[in-house]
């Protein structure tokens, strides 16, 4: 049964936090970690209240590996894993998965690819065998790759109908220039057109390998089965000699404005600049600072000034995307064209205020309490636990991370918040993207 969410109108829903990893000891089932002979890190957490299992398998084959001119190759390769193997056609794979009521999917992000499996406990052995088969023996048929190229080009075009997506793409392009983060993960029209079965095969041969891959299995998994079948089978995977990518993420500094004229009733604004890495010791102070600025949902300053006081927007928030490599800082909002300039001015003013004045004790306390107290809410489903463990391992936070987190957050002071605001908010050199009716918005 699917929820008919399309018919619902949600009140403001998104509390935007970074990789939000925190909380008390009881919030999650115990975790086992081991490293297999071929370099795969295996993480498992048992929780048996429902008869199914969730797997997330991270492989270092993300979009930063895309060769120049073939942007979108990592994404295409991941999706094409499911297009058939030496022994099973795509149709057979799909039919068998659906017959089990299982979901197997593969896709790439910027830094890595993930193969995901959700399967009933009774079919775990079969589902896992299928996952290994598509990983080790994909045949990448040319005809299916060509069809996927067609669909990807159509999806890129369809994305032009989503003003938020258009604005985000323009922002990323403006921020990262020509670097490995500059292109959309699915690629662009010119590069996707060039993708072929040959390039997909080559990408798979080079970058799909076990070294430092992360296999997370959560849910109704029998430890005996894990030890006797799953771990040994994983350890047999050889594949390419790929290791985590070391890339140099560069970005553009300085004020810049990008405008896209569309017949829209709202202007979609993105204001921002470069952000920080997840490994930056200031990450936690930045988390607290951003919560107060625009990450804390209805309680954040941006929400208060732009939505609650003036009714200029339904949604406005700020976000630091902090990953292994340097991410971005963005303020995202939509407002009627006539208010675009005012909203942009208000957002910038909040960045300045954060730099100029220390936050109040009430604001600081509220942020700390939320960040520490809400942790258990984020680990209530198999999928959430699996993603969390994958991130903990990928970012090398250590399995004691969650025990340390509350203390780290509690130690953030108002002075820290102001210091990181000064260091990492740059209202004087913003990239401003406007997608909307530029004449009405006064951005022509």
């Amino acid at each position: 049964m699917r929820f008919r969410l399309k018919s619902l109108v949600f009140f403001w829903a998104i509390l935007t936090f970074l990789v939000s990893l925190a909380g008390p000891v009881e919030a999650m089932p115990p975790v086992q970690r081991s490293v297999l002979a071929n370099g795969i890190v295996l993480l498992s957490a048992e929780e048996h209240s429902l008869p199914f299992v969730t797997v997330e398998f991270l492989i270092h084959a993300g979009a930063t590996r895309d060769p120049s001119g073939q942007e979108g190759l990592a994404s295409m390769t991941a999706r094409a894993l499911l297009f058939g193997t030496k022994t099973r056609s795509m149709n057979v794979i799909n039919e068998q998965l659906d017959f089990m009521g299982a979901a197997l999917s593969a896709d790439a992000g910027r830094d890595y690819a993930v193969i995901s499996l959700r399967v009933l406990t009774k079919d775990l052995v079969k589902g896992f065998a299928l996952l290994m088969e598509v990983l080790e023996q994909p045949i990448f048929p040319g005809s299916e790759i060509q069809k996927e190229v067609t669909r990807t080009l159509a999806a890129i075009r369809s994305g032009e109908d989503d003003p938020g997506e258009v604005a985000e793409k323009e922002f990323i392009k403006a921020l990262y220039g020509k670097g490995p983060y500059a292109h959309p993960v699915v690629g662009v029209k010119e590069s996707v057109e060039k993708l072929s079965a040959e390039s997909v095969k080559e990408f798979h041969r080079r970058f799909y390998g076990p070294a430092n891959a992360i296999f997370v299995i959560v849910g109704d998994v029998d430890p005996a089965l894990l030890a006797s079948e799953i771990a040994p089978r994983l350890a047999k995977w050889q594949g390419g000699a790929s290791t985590p990518a070391t890339i140099d993420v560069s970005y553009e500094r300085g004020s810049k404005r990008v405008t896209v004229d569309r017949a829209l009733t709202q202007s979609n604004l993105v204001l921002g600049h470069e952000g920080i890495t997840r490994g930056n010791p200031d990450y936690y102070a930045v988390t607290v600072m951003n919560y107060i600025l625009g990450g804390g949902g209805l309680t954040a300053r941006l929400m208060e000034e732009i939505r609650d006081k003036r009714g200029l927007a339904y949604s406005v928030f700020s976000h630091f995307a902090a990953g292994k490599h340097e991410g971005s800082f963005q303020i995202i909002l939509q407002t009627k064209n006539a208010s675009a300039r005012e909203a942009a001015r208000l957002a910038t003013a909040e960045m300045e205020r954060m730099r100029e004045k220390p936050v109040s004790e009430a604001e600081l306390g509220g942020a700390r309490k939320y960040l520490v107290g809400s942790f258990p809410l984020r680990l209530t489903t198999q999928g959430a636990i699996a993603s969390f463990l994958m991130q903990v391992e990928y970012l090398k936070l250590g399995l004691d991370y969650v025990d340390r987190y509350p203390g780290i957050i509690q130690n953030v002071t108002a002075q820290d918040v102001q210091r990181v605001a000064r260091a990492y908010l740059h209202p004087d050199r913003l990239i401003v993207v406007v997608v909307g009716n530029l004449k009405e918005a006064g951005f022509e």
Partner: protein, 460 residues
Amino acid sequence: MIRRAMNATLCLFLLAAWVSTAASQGLRQQVLETSLSNGLKVILLENHKAPVVTFQVWYRVGARNEQYTKTGLSHVLEHMMFKGTKKVGPGEFARIVQENGGQDNAFTSSDYTAYFENLSSDRIDVALELESDRMRNLVLRDEDFQTERSVVIEERRLRTDDNPKAVLMEQLEAIAFQIHPYRWPVIGWMQDLTRLTLDDLKQHYQRFYHPGNAFLVVVGDFKREELLPRIERYFGGTPKGVPPDQMVPQEAPQQGERRVSLHKEAQLASVVMGYHVPNLPHPDAYVLEVVAALLSAGESSRLQMNLVRAKELALVAGADNALVSKDPNLFTIAADALPGKDAAEVEKAINIEVERLQEEMVGERELEKVKNSLESGFIYSQDSFFAQAMLLAQHEIVSSWRAVDEYVPSVRKVKAEDVQRVARQYLVPENRTVAVLVPKVTGKGAPQPPGPALPERVIR
């Protein structure tokens, strides 16, 4: 939280003992339904797998309870519910919840308006206090209303006006229904939003927000014998209220196909068809679940195999059944055309799939496959407390939360003959409305010029 599993075996044993009872029972054996002294219905489901709880208040009011020219009222009132009471100042609600490590939100549909707090189990009183307070003590100030109206208008622009497919769906419903309030959008028509008054809100609140028109759903890590007295303490004193008349004019049978086309800036043509179908508790509603799954559940489904892959007509295609709708609603089939394909071709291909359902008996393995998909999807959805609560509540809105237990057995009972009969009865041209999005790519502010039609080599 994360630590080596020194005692994993023991935990496993204990959990297994609990689960084997839980999994073999339906929700009827696990849920406690009771009523407070003032009649407020309470639905409790204990689930101790995580130390959290979702607390939800569901009001039996949505767009179906509105009047023409006052559309969007229920949703605007939902927004105003965050603007404070005599005790809680404007903007305080979210601050209090968040300072307790909680998340709160609300949503409105045609049939209901629901409010929830997700919290650590030890903070549930925060939700009890805030929700019982705003059930009766909301303060509606004109100043807040004027600002919030602007927010909702921005919300409408964001969700609908600048989203071609949302406008298409709005058009479909506006044409498919002529009498029933499902003909207007939950968020309301723009003109109505600009004309609503504070008095409208006050009347709506008085009429629909009280124990006689609401129920509570709590799912998660609590002990019912400890929680119930606290619920009684917070909510029991609220005056009962008069249950409002929930009758709305019902749609007359459709007597011929209706069509609407929407000319709007868009990259791809799009089609959506809506057929009037029965809702729960009509047994055919479950057959239609199977029909929807045959068409679009999974990569091996018929629309995916034929429209998307074999014929390469559509970028995406799907079918959706309105199972848990208060009044009979629409079964929809929708698809976005690939560039270079027009809506007519896509529509024709959809009709071929519908006719196949009517003419060919579905094979045994395929029928078994979609039932497996529906059952596993049902099991997966139980993983989230929030989703569990929502499932119980949506069924309660329509008939009873007990109907949740009927879902899997009812789907399992569906026979090939039922699929054919239902397809022949409901999925017929006289009973359908077709809405077509015709991309308009000229004029100022048009989207980027579309690239040339895709080269032949990739069309196949």
